[in-house]
Each structure stands twice: as C-alpha cells, then as structure tokens.
Symmetry: C2
Subunit: 441 residues, 2 copies
C-alpha cells in the first residue's frame, strides 16, 4: 500500500516529510515557482515547487518538467516536506515537492466542466463524482445506511436478501421488466414486498433489507429511476400501522443523528443546509384531513383518485413545518381504493386502510402499512382489485400455514438523501442513475 | 405492538404473569392436562393447561377446546403464569395458560416434514425457515455482514450501490441474463466489477458493496445459484495483490470474530462445528506450487487449462490445514490464460497475474487481484482475450482521465456461510434460492 497521509489529516500532522496521493485539480506553472492543487478523497492541498532551472544559477530541474507536463485529473503520489504556513489560503499549509510519481495520466481535455448539464455530467459520472460535494453525498449515504443497519441490529432484526428474480409480478403487471430465463421468463422484483412478508410466517419476527428494486416506469421526473435502492423493514406482532410508524421514526432518528454528528458541518458548508434531527412522534394526519388542509390553503388536487400529487405533498409539508415545526409528516389512513390489496383495512370502515405515506421536506419518501394476514380477506381484496388469486398462489400460501399479524414499510434511499441535502434530483445522489434513456456508463 | 417476552428471555424472567407469542410446534392433548410447545424466533417453551372439564367436578373449559382445535404451525399469543420448574425438560420452565389468542390458523396438514427432500423444503421455504437451524443461519449471516460493514466503515470505506442493469456485458457475453428495456435491451450485472473499479478514477479511494449479482449459469452444483449475494470491495493506491489480501484477511477476521462471539456456542450445538477465528497472515501459495503439492498428493487435475477443480481445492485446503493449521489459503499468481483481461500481470513474467483465489474449508469463496489500470496495456489484454475494445469503451474511459493503481475482490456470501457451518449446499443458507429450474416461491 502506498503509505500516504490523507489531506484531511495534514492539519494535525507535524511539519516534515509526508507523502500525499490524489489527482491534479489545478496547475499554476509560473516562471519561478510551480503550484499544484492536489485533491484526494478527503480534501485538497497545495503543493509547491520552486524552480531551479531559472534565475542566476540555473541547474537541471526534471521535476519542473514533470509538473509542466501534468494534465488536470492525472493521479499522482508526491513525496515532500509539509510546512504549516498561514499565508496559504488552502488550509494554511503546503507541501514542498521532493519527488513526483505519476500513477495514471489523464487525457488533456476533461470532457466536463463545473457548469456542464446534469445529462453531460452523468455521461462522465466518474469525473463528476470527483467533486467534493459528490464525495460528501456518498459519505452521508454511507453513514446514514450504517446507522439504520446498526439500529436494526441493536434491536435484533434479521437482515434478509430477497430474490430480485421472480416468476410472477410482485405488485402489478404494469412497469415490470421481463428477463429471459433459460427456457422460460422471469421478472425483476419491483419491491421485496411479498418476500419480506414471507419472513413473518417463517417466524423471523423482524427483518430488514437494503437492496435494488426495478420499475419499468417511463417517467422522467426528478424523483424516479428505473433502478433504485429500497430500504425495507417488516415485523410481526403489531397492533396497527401506528406500530410501524413508531419503528420507522426511531430508525430515521438514528440515521439522521449519525449524519448530523459526522457530517453536519460539512453539509452546511457544501449545501447551505442546516437540518435538524427530528424527535418522535412525528405528526400523524389522516389523508382526509390532509385533503381538507390543502383545500383550505387554496389548492385543488387535480387527481381524480383523491391521492396527493407532488404539489399537495409540498403544501402539506409546508403546513406541518409551520404548524408543528416538523420536517416529517405521516399521512395516514389512505383510501382503500388507492392502496394495494394487501394493505389491511380498518375494522369499522373498510374504505380506509391501516397505512401511511411518510412525507419529508415536501416529498413522499416511504409507504408503510399493516398487512392483511387473513387469507380469506386477502383473496377478497385481491379480487376486488381485479387480480386473479390463482396468479398469487405462492403468496397466498404464506398465509395458509400460520402467520402472525405484521406490517412494515419501504423507503427510497435516494429520495431521503436528496431531500436531506436539498438537492433538485435523485440523479445527483445516485452512484449511476438508470432511467428510460440511460443505461450507461 | 403485542408486548411479549421472547422465549430466550424467559429463563431470566421472574415467575409471574407473562405473554409469549409464536407458533405451535406440538400439542399433547392429554386427558387431564394439555401441553403446547410454542416456538418463537428465539426458542421454544412448554405451555401447560390443566383441564377443568374433567375429573370429579367438571366445569366448562373453553381453553381446553381451543387447544384441542389447534393445528401445527398456527400462530398464537398466550398470556399466562411463568413458573420455573426443574422437572420440565424444555428449559426448566413452563407457562400455565391463562388465555389464548389465535392470530393465524394453519391448515391441518403441514406440507413438509423434517425429513423432506431439499427440493420439497425449498418449495415451502417459509416453513423450512421455521427450523431453529435456519433461524440461526439467518442470524449468523446478519452478524457476519454487519461486522464486515462495521470494519469497512471504521476503516473509512464508502458504501456504493452499483447498478444491476447494464447496457453491455460486465465480463463475458456468456451466462448473461437479457432484460427487455423499453425500446432496447439491457443485461443483468454478473458482478459489480467495472462499476466498483469506477469508484477509483472517481477518487472515492476505498469502497464496498454487498448486493445481488446474476449469472445465467445452467449448472446444478451445490455451490452455484443464478442469483447470489456478492461481497465486494475495491481500493486505490495498492502496490500489489498482496495489499488486497491484507485487507481481505482483516475483514474476514472481523466477521468471524463477531460470529464466534455472538453465535459460537449455538453453532456448535446446532451444527457440531467448532470453528476457529483465523489469524493473519493466511498462508499464501502460488498456483504453480499448489499444482505441485496436489500432484505429489497423488491427484491429477483433470482440467486442461491448469485451473483447480473442486477436488484440487479440497485437497490443497486439507494440506494447508495439516501443514499450516489454517482453514484459509490464498492461492496466488494465477496464470494469465485463466484470468480475465483486467487482472494485472507480473512485471517480470506476463504469464502470471497479480491475483488470487481464497479457499476456505475446501472450496473457493473469492477472487481478488490488482487491476490493470494502464489503458494501453488493458486494451492489449482485452484483444488477446478475443474481446472487442469498442464494446468496452465505457469501461476503458475510466482509465483515460486519470486513475490510481487499485485492486479488490469479490466474495460469495452464501459460500462463506455454507463452509463456516459445514453445510452441504448453498441452498441451505440462501433465503430463497434461484437456480435454472427454480424461480419460486
């Protein structure tokens, strides 16, 4: 391993010999002295080389020639003398170059610039990811996920890996990707819904999964992707969807606490966002009341089915922030008509479900519910939705050999990160975005 | 949430009122007294009900009727009186039933029994998973993965989620699943190889991913699946594949230490396995020497290409165990002819690569290597393997705009767990196995 000091660590490193390694961000090739700004995954540092091939007694200077030839983006490892120097704007220190090892030369012309369009940047995503903001996004996501998993583990959940290849549809025939599978065909899972529910009759009690899901959704909005990371959890012995919300909010508090601690300042510096770690309970408002509030605010939801559209989500989120001081709101008790057949309905009123959407900073990030575990009711509800119970046999079997009451939620990872950082599109936060027109790189 | 005491916790719970919840493992419906063995995700407990509808002064006994009607596998929640009693074989305690809430009734006849074939058990995997051994496997895997991720996080690796939908092949055209993708087609990633390498020119430094990978491999061996969980890591600024092995062994030590601490005794009890946490360095033996050792042991490898077959892997593993006391061995410096084009070759000898396979308890679990990062060499090696560089353009671009030396490995999660527990097939350890003939449930 190249023994190197990360740029972030230089400030706490005493003056003296160091090795740093990264890529060339800029070169200032001046007459008497040359400067390189070298960036690694933790920051940028100024490297300096006073030329010896100029002035009154010029001598050969192979390093000067090396530096003059450097192209932006070239990776190199530099050994030199670290010196704290308050006059240096970049971190108050610089490294006087002793030797330069070029590890990987970059083509002279970088194909993108800071002001390139998002589409162009996605074409060259591996260069776009070099921007410090992109590195921070990746670290924020890493910290967030690890905090979620640690919360689950501390609370005795089992991690599962559900299959992404299925013989039949998971939720609906629409928006399914079809896969050639030997002599037959398969489908890509739109969600782990059925399989995470399976863990309940399997007696696992409490499970979680963070994994890709696939939707052949031809839309081009800022919040849709054909492949996305779904954060899922499902657990037994709940009394209602309120128990699901309780787990959900604790989990988010754990995730956001970790992000705030580790990256709070960096997030504010990079994105101008000062986010607060929420406290439980998050406000809970039934959908019917949300509709009233939004209508009273002067907005008529243009959807015929009574579901919230993005503008209504934005408005209720704003209202909750103003009236309850919360960035999160659970919109509960969705109409049965706009929920899948497996959501359990209220005992007294079959027209509404024991379900919720979680809205965060103006957009929906998650859907949760208690599941219907009584197989006869489940079959009735499937039929009512126009589904053929015969095609659901493998799923219905889960409920025929004993099953506890259970529920859970699925949450879009990229949406959470996008909304946390106040970014305009999930394309900014996904490592390699996949959309109807984008399969590369 | 149903407030319940997990069976595991009963031993440390004082005598008195408790609620337990789980499924019926057995019912002994005797004349004067009824017994239920109730299992939850942590263990089994005996519930007892002395009948009141028999004897000299019989009174109505609705609970007795409830118990008589119970089917195996039914989920229920029981409130009663916990009492320590040394005479009770099952854990030295029992719960005298106060009331029974049936949550989910099971069909009378369970479709599988303990001695059902693996194929039949996989048909009813959600019932098979109720076996305590299966629950333990899921917990061992959970602990192992979390320890890996924690090691990565502690060592400042970034978690990435690479896309599983690709426009072109990741390694070879063979064994690729094709997906209908709007007006065009896509392929399922066989590994995150190209995309995790992309994190290096992206300046991420060190990355990891645990995610599904897909191979249209028609074989039916005990170690192959068409969908499997791949444990991947990739990092910059290595000097050779030895640096990759150093990371790999530290990671495995972290994972196995956690498993030993949390589940060591349970593993021995359930599987008769007493595994040792390995120490670094694991033995490293070049492939050429492994061939000699295996040949000297009297086994002629039947493969024409000089690669190890499963029997040779078993034999070298046995030899290393006998001669070095290690369950692990890195077989290094594979012939260039049997390695992919992107493995870096030795400076002095282009016929061998800076690569390794890791063999554990008799079978290969992982392949690692330093990657070729010089684009001209990479193109030459691709051509030599009969690949068309034009089809690899998006990948070759990663190396044209600056890239540090790097390497990494991919490891099959199910294989590690199978070999750790001494199980005969990965089908026993995968939540829902996918093979050429199996897409359900």
């Amino acid at each position: 391993m190249t023994e190197r000091t990360l740029v972030q660590k230089l400030a706490s490193t005493p003056d003296g010999p160091v090795r740093v390694a990264g890529w060339v961000e800029t070169v200032r090739d001046q007459k008497k002295v040359q400067f390189i700004v070298l960036r690694d995954e933790t920051g940028a540092v100024q490297l300096v080389h006073p030329r010896t091939d100029v002035g009154e007694n010029p001598v050969d200077d192979p390093i000067a020639a090396q530096i003059s030839a450097l192209t932006h983006g070239t990776f190199l490892s530099v050994e030199g003398e670290l010196k704290a120097d308050e006059r240096v704007k970049l971190g108050g220190l610089e490294v006087k170059i002793g030797s330069v090892d070029v590890a990987g030369v970059a083509f002279p012309e970088p194909p993108i610039a800071d002001d390139s369009s998002i589409d162009k940047r996605l074409d060259w995503r591996f260069l776009d990811l070099r921007r410090p903001e992109q590195n921070l996004i990746a670290r924020v996501q890493t910290t967030f996920e690890h905090a979620l998993r640690t919360w689950w583990i501390d609370n005795d959940f089992i991690e599962i890996h559900t299959p992404k290849l299925m013989a039949s549809a998971s939720e609906s025939r629409a928006e399914l990707f079809e896969v050639g599978y030997f002599e037959t065909k398969a489908y890509l899972a739109q969600s782990p819904q059925f399989f995470k529910q399976m863990a309940q009759p399997a007696g696992f009690g409490k499970v979680f999964e963070i994994a890709p899901a696939f939707r052949a959704d031809p839309s081009f909005t800022s919040r849709h992707a054909t492949e996305f990371i779904s954060v899922d959890s499902e657990f037994s012995w709940i009394d209602s969807h309120d128990d699901v919300m309780k787990v959900h909010e604790q989990l988010l508090i754990a995730g956001l606490t970790a992000v705030k601690e580790k990256h709070g300042e960096a997030i504010t510096a990079a994105f101008g966002v000062e986010f607060e770690v929420p406290t439980a309970p998050f406000p809970r408002i039934p959908l019917a009341e949300v509709r009233r509030i939004v209508a009273e605010g002067g907005y008529e939801i243009p959807r015929a089915d009574g579901d919230l559209d993005p503008e209504a989500e934005r408005r209720i989120s704003e209202w909750v922030k103003a009236n309850h001081g919360s960035d999160f709101v659970f919109v509960t008790d969705y109409d049965s008509s706009i929920r899948p057949f497996y959501h359990q309905r209220h005992e007294g009123d079959g027209s509404i479900t024991k379900s919720y959407d979680l809205i965060y900073n103006g957009a929906e990030i998650s859907t949760g519910a208690q599941r219907e575990h009584r197989v006869d009711v489940l079959i009735e509800q499937a039929k009512e939705k126009g589904l053929d119970p015969e095609e659901l046999e493998f799923y219905l079997d889960f409920f025929r050999h004993g099953v506890p009451p259970h529920g859970g939620f699925g949450m879009g990872l990229a949406r959470v990160i996008m909304l946390l950082l106040g970014l305009p599109s999930i394309r900014e936060v996904i490592y390699l975005f996949r959309g109807p027109n984008r399969l590369e790189p």
